[in-house]
Symmetry: C2
Subunit: 665 residues, 2 copies
């Protein structure tokens, strides 16, 4: 390949800051070095050389290759002594190794990210001692089987039963209907030999609700499915080809009583049920998972922004009056595609850090027995999971289309990112349902505020008077603080508006009906709250920082763009809420255009600072060296259809068709 | 399979109109019968039975199977005598057969839709006589090779050269750079043996611009690539797996002089160049193709709406206080996902009919030598192609996500629709570029209006005074005509706003710079013009109609929802343009919620009226009988990964990995 594309080289030379300073702000110096070391190690190991060919493989090849690479990775990590306690102590190394070796996810991801953590979180000490070492060494390979063919987000609706049989001291696991078949769990189809199965506990005909049961699925030696079980892969999806999401049907399948995970609830030998933990604590697990999604979508968005921005600097189109085709990054319309993606990535990174800080402090309180901040955590993570995944999907798709025709090729790398990202809108709580959970929580907090109770910091805006601050109404220029006031007021008014609609409705109908007649307004309020949170977290990270001054200067522009752009993206709501007037909206439109021009020269350096190696991006368009056309040519040549100069279908079908039609000549 | 799902049966029983009446409005009685007859014929023919398995096949299998089916289809059509003149006379039959036999597109689609029409449109009579019969009988299988690795929408930038060699009376076709390699043409990789190649014509060192050249690519008997040519498939994409989009590189490849298509321009034996046709007429081909996209995206959107609506009626979730899980279609938030898709499908259908009427009248004028209406056609189709494809993609993705987790499975059928639809945003003119072409045209027409010239009907709004009609400013209830006034005024003000910005800018900088500094505003103006057009066409179709009264009543609600929803979707712009005030926007929000409730009981009947057979939808979720869970279970079982109970990778990789790690136990 040739040296770095001259357009990209010039972009880097002209940046006003050193991307390394920004990378250190994002990752910390130590982690950045660790990450780079691991990527280097993996990329030099021939065992991992084939990973980049995934976009060209068939489903079966992709699955098999992912299994191979995961095995090679475990051997490598064993060399480094990363096996025991692999599910926590060395989490960061694990994370980096997994990212370096392969793209996206593994058939074993549910094993490492959900099966093992569930044992740790919901098993007794004896159960942990029994099951965890076997999981760590992959003697047991597990999945987490909750979702059923007919039941997703509404968990209480699950139908699988675990009926206790006192005589044999066993649970009988059964799928009573077609809709009760477990469907979707990752790694269930072919990879796992164990599963945590969520089922309705029945003792003496009485239902004690959902509990987790350890079920062996396959023989540990032969890997054949056990009797009483039917299971397999659920076939092709929009993406995630690597993962054997599976289905699982039980026919009165028996497991020992001790296979119920009993940290939170117990069933004794003679069938007595007792509960140990307060149910609220299960909130914390959901919050943790949703926080993880909030952080993960930021990285996927940043990868797409990297690809689109670099390609926009390399790609030239449409000759101007001097006969020169400008870099497409010079077009305002192209800037409006990639710069929101860049700025939102940064906003979501800092948002992730702030949510993590809150989570850690809530967690520390819970460990001391104080569960009072769990509702705040729940409201925060439901809203942000929905909002950040929604917005990231929209922006990644804009990035993909901003690459023109080549964005549609898997060579872009963005098709893969989109397909990895978009299920985040559906799993771990469907986004509309989550907005409504968040809204329910907001209504409760509003009630507290109106009674004069003190609110946690992220909800204090509900306690403020709804007057428009005079500096906002008369603003002809917006500084950060005025902008933040606008966000806060907009969130508050959206919440108050729907609260008042609910109150009015309740004069005529019951609360449930009033609620159902206002779902749209409730979703809108939860969205505006989430928009406000991300803005607030970005501004506060910025103001608390002691960063290198040139890096801080550009991040300040990034933050201002994020704020202005978000007000304009929701200008209908801001105007209807009387937070802005039309001439102020017009001022902000002008400011947005100015900021595009201010950010333009730093666009490439801003994405370089995300520090994603080519191996991870796996994109012909987003290469660090910008040699996109040579890469696309190579990508084309490696198509499976090109194995034969003349495809077999020519002789089998085209020739006979032509013979038949020839007589018509 | 079981009988029709009782929820779906009840929905159909409760509808206020007969879907058959609506189907006849959409398709006409005769076409509807033809379509049903052909679908029946194909579905009863075992040759076409496998098509529904496409989502589960590998790339190579998909391609081969598509070739097989196309061959079988040609034989079938030959039985009906549809071979000669197959590219026009029997177009509708062809279209229905193609849709019935297979899903989406074929490796031969560029042959039938672009290669043959180009010969007809740009060949001389002798060239048509030579090449067309061979295309009709598939002795020649052709593609249309325009796009290059480094050059897309800006056609003048293409680099492939056709240099005339007087001595041998040949053109030398050459790819001088990597970026000049032809890239993307459908069917080029493996299927075609001929191509229309767009290249820069060079005679005696002088460039005469782009012209079409007939190039043979492969031996007609052996199908081996000819010397001087390198070609192949461009590898996997986001979708379109069926099509072998290809690359093509020429190494000083020679073709006879008579292989330049010479209807519009000629090169004589001794190298003299002459032009025959006025260049404006090439607008018409582009307009025709873009109109086709406007119509096609409506059908894809309607298919997604059908699937999402039926599934929303079958799917039940989240128990209410009576312990019943309602149909998700009863949730306002779900209605806000599927009802806009339904109403927009109808709007886009009627929009397509109106555009077609205008096209036909412009075409009739052109045939009489009157080219005066070509600019209107150009402005109309550029804006609408961009707008309709953008909106359809957004709504189809909303439909997909409205199906929850199962929307992510290829079993939904919507993943395929999305992947088929989304390239419409990029090909045949990238949407942002098209909005800008439309805006350029709007600025010219505005200039004419300001000089008092008469404008064509779709642009007459530019000639009206920008006063707010008093009935609009004081409206507390909106009838259709007030709503239309709002759309018209909003379009006008958006155009006037950016025109004035351009004028101001030009006091300081030249026109090109002023233009480039206002790209965002120009795109916005073109969008608001397109939104206005669709609304206008829907309202005028409705008011001109003499339809069955119950069908007309529901279409009136559909139209009102479309109008209200679109104002609210663009409420930021409507408010900034001072077309509405915040309290009016609030009224419209209330009205939208009312309309959701009014349309809810007819939702299923409205999608039934689109009359898409299960074979075409190819969706487990959108089945007419609603037996979705049985279908999903069957879909899962047919996964290629389920060929073996124990996947080979277990023995190859998992066992060795476990052996290595066992010692750590």
């Amino acid at each position: 390949m040739s040296p770095v594309n001259p357009d990209l080289a010039r972009e880097r030379k002209n940046a006003t800051f050193n991307p390394e300073d920004l990378s250190i702000i994002l990752y910390g110096k130590e982690n950045l070095e660790l990450r780079r070391k691991i990527f280097k190690e993996i990329s030099e190991d021939p065992n991992f050389a084939k990973a980049k060919m995934f976009p060209t493989m068939s489903r079966d090849e992709v699955y098999e290759e992912a299994v191979r690479i995961f095995g090679a990775l475990q051997r490598k990590m064993k060399e480094h002594g990363y096996v025991k306690g692999c599910f926590d102590t060395y989490a960061l190394q694990h994370y980096y190794y997994k990212n370096a070796a392969f793209i996206g996810t593994y058939p074993f991801s549910v094993h490492t990210d959900m099966y093992a953590p569930t044992i740790k979180g919901q098993g007794t000490d004896e159960q942990i001692a029994e099951f965890l070492p076997k999981a760590e060494t992959y003697q047991h390979i597990g999945t987490y089987a909750q979702t059923e063919l007919g039941h997703g987000t509404f968990i209480r609706g699950l139908e699988t039963t675990a009926t206790y049989d006192k005589n044999t001291e066993e649970f009988v696991i059964h799928s009573p209907t077609i809709t009760s078949i477990k469907y979707w769990p990752g790694g269930l189809g072919k990879t796992s030999n164990y599963a945590v199965v969520m089922a309705q506990l029945i003792i003496d005909g009485k239902n004690y609700g959902l509990h987790p049961f350890m079920c062996q699925l396959r023989d540990l030696k032969t890997h054949q499915p056990l009797a009483g079980i039917e299971l397999g892969d659920i076939n092709r999806k929009f993406g995630y080809e690597v993962v054997d999401n599976g289905y699982l049907r039980f026919f009165h399948y028996r497991i020992p009583r001790t296979n119920m995970l009993m940290r939170n609830a117990k069933v004794s030998k003679d069938g007595e049920f007792s509960r140990q933990a307060i149910p609220q604590v299960t909130y914390l697990t959901m919050s943790y998972v949703r926080m993880g999604i909030v952080q993960e979508v930021a990285t996927l968005l940043a990868q797409a922004a990297t690809i689109a921005t670099r390609y926009s600097a390399v790609r030239r189109q449409t000759a101007n009056s001097q006969g020169i085709e400008p870099q497409i990054l010079d077009y305002q319309t192209q800037q409006m595609k990639v710069i929101p993606a860049i700025c939102t990535s940064y906003a979501f990174f800092f948002n992730g850090f702030e949510v993590r800080k809150i989570y850690d402090s809530v967690m520390a309180a819970v460990e001391k027995g104080d569960v009072s901040r769990l509702p705040e955590m729940h409201s925060l993570t439901s809203g942000l999971k929905a909002y950040c995944s929604d917005v990231s999907c929209d922006l990644v798709e804009i990035c993909r289309r901003s690459c023109g025709g080549h964005g549609y090729s898997n060579a872009s790398g963005i098709t893969r990112i989109y397909q990895l990202l978009v299920p985040c809108c559906t799993f771990e709580g469907e986004n509309t349902v989550l907005y409504l959970q968040c809204a329910r929580s907001l209504m409760k907090f509003l009630g507290k505020a109106q009674k004069g109770e003190e609110l946690p910091s992220s909800l204090q805006f509900l306690g403020h008077l709804p007057d428009v601050p005079p500096e906002l109404m008369s603003a002809v220029k917006f500084d950060m603080s005025t902008l933040m006031t606008a966000f806060q007021l907009n969130a508050l008014r959206s919440v108050l508006h729907v609260a008042s609609e609910l109150q009015t409705a309740q004069k005529k109908v019951n609360y449930e009906t009033a609620w159902n007649n206002n779902l749209q307004g409730l979703v809108e309020a939860a969205k505006m709250y989430s928009v406000y949170l991300v803005a607030k977290f970005f501004v506060s990270a910025l103001s608390a920082s002691q960063w290198e001054s040139r890096a801080k200067a550009v991040l300040t522009q990034v933050c201002e763009f994020y704020l202005v752009n978000n007000i304009l993206d929701h200008s209908g709501t801001f105007l209807q809420n009387d937070v802005l007037n039309p001439s102020q909206a017009s001022l902000l439109r002008t400011r947005r255009i100015e900021l595009l021009a201010e950010l333009r020269p730093n666009a490439v350096a801003l994405v370089d600072a995300f520090d994603y190696p080519d191996r991870l991006l796996n994109s012909c368009l987003g290469r660090y060296d910008g040699n996109v056309y040579e890469a696309l040519y190579e990508y084309a040549k490696s198509s499976s259809l090109n194995q034969h100069q003349v495809h077999p279908s020519f002789h089998k079908y085209v020739k006979p068709m032509r013979e038949t039609l020839k007589s018509q000549l």
